[in-house]
Each structure stands twice: as structure tokens, then as C-alpha cells.
């Protein structure tokens, strides 16, 4: 991957020929009232890709992520997950709605999502959080789900916290448990919505390390983040969003070290100053 990274930005299609496409997003638009949040975003994630989405607050990063698993309904555009189109139609009021709720649930089960605020279910213990969906969505046997959960919680370093409730964990532990919960579904792709933004600075590292390990295992991921160094280390592709459009995209080295647009230069210099 390293050797390709210079070429990657310019000719991704040929480099990745033969690699299956995990996610294809075509021309997604979304507005909230009069505010246009996404103005035609297209994105391709091949298997094993780690795509980081950068951008200032309000640039539409999170909305894009939420449009992919339909937590927000895009006004127009198409989302394909492993080649399967999420079917949309128009309701009586002229709004776009998913045609088939079952399809949406089925596709969501294959798309992991990790939230900024963790959103672990507060009435369930860590272990119960991780086995909940495998049992009640995938139909796994309880024993099997527990085995899988124990393995994953060990992987994220929480094997001693199985019976803790989320409120008794630190933010970093909560987020690692949330990652284990997403992994327990064995998703094709995981969406991370600013996974470290709600954490104390000293807890950020432990979560980033877990994500980094997933990247090295070949997990396909789409990560909204403000951690530029992390983005540089982990991603195969970096996308910079501004005002609902893709301003620049390519290999992290290209985008982060050799920005073309004024907007990205300003964004990066602002960030640089902040981290000093």
C-alpha cells in the first residue's frame, strides 16, 4: 500500500481493479430546511480501505456518514453496500424515503457504526451490549454470541469489565466497548463518527490504537476525525469536505502535506496551530 500511495490519489480505479467495492456513494445531497449540508458527494470504498473524512464543523462529514446508514435520509443520490443499492422512493409529500424498511435493517446490520457519544445501551452491561444484536438481529445462539463477545472484548482490552454497566466505565473504555459491539456483527464496513471527540485527551490514544489495529487487520472503515496525525498513519485515502462538497481527496500524504486548495491550507494551518 505504501508504495502505491503516491499514485493512489490520481488513479485509484486502476490500482484497485479486482478488489471488491465495499461501499459506493453516488451524488448524495441532503438539506435541512434551507441549509444545504451535502451538495453531491460521491465516494468509493474498496475492501480493506480506510478512508478518513476531514473538515471543519458543519462541513457535512457526520451527515454524510449518517446518510450512508440512513440515520438521515438523503434527499437524492445512491448508496450501494457491496453492490446492493439501498432502494429509495418518494412519498406523498415529495420526500425521499427508503422503499423497504427490511432492506434498510439488513444493510445496517452489515454496516457497523461507532458514535461520538458511544451510545452504549445504558441498561445493559458491557457483555450484554455486545451480545444483544448478534442474538436479536443475527439470530446467534446465546453461547456462541458470548464466546464471540469475550474474544472481542479481550481484543479491545476490556475482558475484566464484562459485567460493568457503561456508566461505570471511562469514556475510553466505553468507546472500546462500543467498537466491540460493532465488531460483533462482523460488519463489511465500519463507520466511525468522531470516535475520540468526546474523550479526555489522555484517553484518545487507547481508542485510536484499537482502530489502528483494526486497520492493520484489513478492516474496511470510514472515519470522521479531527486527529490529523492519526489520519495520516491509518488511512489509505483522505477526503477533505468543505460546505457539503469534496474539496480534496487522495492519499493522506498528498492531502495533508501538499494541499492544493486555499480552504484546505487554511484548515490545516489552523489545526497545526491548535495542536502546538
Amino acid at each position: 500500500m505504501e508504495a502505491f500511495s503516491d499514485l493512489f490519489g490520481q488513479i485509484p480505479m486502476t490500482i484497485n481493479e479486482g478488489t471488491p467495492i465495499s461501499l459506493l456513494v453516488e451524488n448524495i445531497c441532503k438539506r435541512f430546511g434551507s441549509l444545504e449540508v451535502l451538495r453531491g458527494i460521491s465516494l468509493t470504498a474498496y475492501e480493506n480501505d480506510v478512508i478518513t473524512l476531514l473538515g471543519a464543523s458543519g462541513s457535512g462529514k457526520s451527515t454524510l456518514l449518517r446518510c450512508i446508514n440512513l440515520l438521515e435520509t438523503p434527499d437524492s443520490g445512491k448508496v450501494y453496500v457491496r453492490g446492493e443499492l439501498i432502494e429509495m422512493s418518494t412519498n406523498r409529500d415529495g420526500q425521499a424515503v427508503p422503499t423497504n424498511r427490511r432492506q434498510v435493517s439488513r444493510i445496517r446490520a452489515r454496516l457497523g457504526m461507532v458514535f461520538q457519544q458511544f451510545n452504549l445501551w445504558s441498561h445493559l452491561t458491557v457483555l450484554q451490549n455486545v451480545i444483544e444484536a448478534p442474538i436479536h438481529v443475527l439470530g446467534l445462539q446465546r453461547r456462541e454470541a458470548i464466546e464471540r463477545a469475550q474474544e472481542l472484548l479481550e481484543k479491545v482490552g476490556l475482558s475484566d469489565k464484562l459485567d460493568y454497566y457503561p456508566s461505570h466505565l471511562s469514556g475510553g473504555q466505553e468507546q472500546r466497548a462500543a467498537i466491540a459491539r460493532a465488531l460483533a456483527m462482523e460488519p463489511d464496513l465500519i463507520l466511525f463518527d468522531e470516535p475520540t471527540s468526546a474523550l479526555d485527551p489522555e484517553l484518545v490514544g487507547e481508542v485510536l490504537k484499537v482502530i489502528q489495529n483494526l486497520a492493520s487487520e484489513g478492516c474496511t472503515m470510514l472515519i470522521v476525525t479531527h486527529e490529523l496525525n492519526f489520519a495520516r498513519d491509518v488511512s489509505s485515502q483522505t477526503v477533505f469536505l468543505d460546505q457539503g462538497r469534496i474539496e480534496e481527496q487522495g492519499s493522506p500524504d498528498n492531502v495533508l502535506d501538499n494541499p492544493q486548495s486555499e480552504r484546505l491550507k487554511r484548515f490545516l494551518s489552523g489545526n497545526y496551530r491548535r495542536t502546538i
Binding site: S105, A109, F115, N119, W121, H123
Partner: protein, 220 residues
């Protein structure tokens, strides 16, 4: 005799509470749904029922409903006598009335469940019914129990009103005994103590239920 009345009061109360909880969940779901006929019915139900005195509603259901049914059926050419069992009529009416209050309790409880909890349930692939059963309802109890406890307290005392339809519950038996023995103070005081006893036991049970519902969150 008062003991039998007490048993009947508790039985009517529990049956009515079950109905109220069922109607409350249904009503809250309807009121929170997209605008439709169902939502309008639920809105009318809660405004109407909460706006009319219980006593009046009890009399309306007990005396009014059979007459209505008889009139309707005779218009259609049938003729039969509808005689409502006072026990069933009692708990149905009380349950129907307090279902309107429970609707508001559950609606508030649903709105109090953090959005993120519901979102993560949907994001992981749960359909609406699984998400409701496994994630939303268990968390709604935290917010619903204090309100439901309130509904139960008022409900159990409202059962005294169904003495007017000749059901031999605690209030009516106390009243009969008071009249027969000419010792109203003794019997009404005894009945009061019994009602108070029910509420004290209820408070203890409610406390336990709240501790269970708030597991993992806070100590109640």
C-alpha cells in the same frame, strides 16, 4: 366483611392498572406517531377522558353502555338484555379512564429516552419492534415508574367510586357496615387504614421496581 371488600378493591385495582398500562402504551405510541386517524383518536381519548369526572364516566359506562347496546341491537331487530357484571364493568371503566393518564406518562417516558440509545439500536440493524422491546421499553420504565406509581395511587382510590354500581368493594362494604351498626367512625376509619395500607405496600414495591429499572444508571 371489610377484608372481602379489601380483596375486591385490590383485584379491581390490579385489573384496571393492567388495562391502563396496555392502553397507555398503545395511546403513547399513537400520539407519537405520524399524523393520522389513529393519532387523532388518541388525542381525543386523552383530552376527553381526562376532562370528565370519573364518577360520571363510571355511571355512563355501567348504565349507559348496556342501554346503548340494547337500543342498537333492537334497531337491528334483535332483542336481548345486556347485564354488565359490576366487577368487569368496574375495572374496564377505571382502566379505560386511567389509560388516558398512563398515555401521558408513557409519552413523556419515551421522549425522555436519549435519542442516541434509539439511534444505536437502529444503526446496528434492529427493526422497530426489536428496538422497542429490547432497548426503548426497558429504558422507558426508568422515567415511567414515578408517574405510573402516581397513576396507581389515584387509581386505587378511584375504585371507591365503583361502589355506586353495587360492587361490594372496600368502600361499599364499609358504608354498609357503618349503616348497619351505626358506628360510622369505626368502619370508615378502618377502611381508611386499609386504603393507607395498600398505598404503603405500593410505595415499597414501587421503590424496588425503580431500583431495578435504574440498574446501571443511578441509585434510587
Amino acid at each position: 366483611m371489610l377484608w372481602q371488600g379489601l380483596e375486591l378493591t385490590v383485584a379491581v385495582g390490579l385489573c384496571a392498572m393492567l388495562i391502563a398500562i396496555g392502553l397507555g402504551l398503545l395511546g403513547a405510541w399513537a400520539k407519537l406517531s405520524q399524523p393520522s386517524i389513529i393519532k387523532s383518536i388518541a388525542n381525543t381519548y386523552t383530552s376527553l377522558i381526562r376532562g370528565v369526572p370519573e364518577l360520571l364516566l363510571i355511571l355512563l359506562v355501567y348504565y349507559g353502555a348496556p342501554t346503548l347496546i340494547q337500543d342498537l341491537s333492537s334497531n337491528l331487530g334483535y332483542s336481548f338484555i345486556v347485564d354488565l357484571n359490576p366487577f368487569v364493568a368496574g375495572f374496564l371503566t377505571i382502566g379505560f379512564i386511567y389509560g388516558a393518564f398512563a398515555t401521558e406518562v408513557f409519552r413523556g417516558a419515551y421522549l425522555a429516552v436519549p435519542r442516541g440509545q434509539i439511534e444505536s439500536a437502529h444503526a446496528i440493524g434492529m427493526n422497530s419492534s426489536t428496538a422497542f422491546r429490547r432497548i426503548i421499553l426497558p429504558q422507558m420504565w426508568r422515567f415511567a415508574l414515578p408517574g405510573l406509581g402516581n397513576v396507581w395511587m389515584v387509581l386505587i382510590k378511584a375504585t371507591a367510586l365503583i361502589s355506586v354500581i353495587q360492587l361490594d368493594e372496600l368502600m361499599r362494604n364499609a358504608s354498609i357496615a357503618a349503616g348497619a351498626t351505626r358506628q360510622p367512625f369505626t368502619f370508615f376509619l378502618a377502611a381508611s387504614v386499609m386504603y393507607l395500607g395498600i398505598t404503603i405496600i405500593s410505595i415499597t414495591i414501587q421503590r424496588k421496581a425503580e431500583v431495578w429499572a435504574n440498574r446501571g444508571i443511578r441509585n434510587v
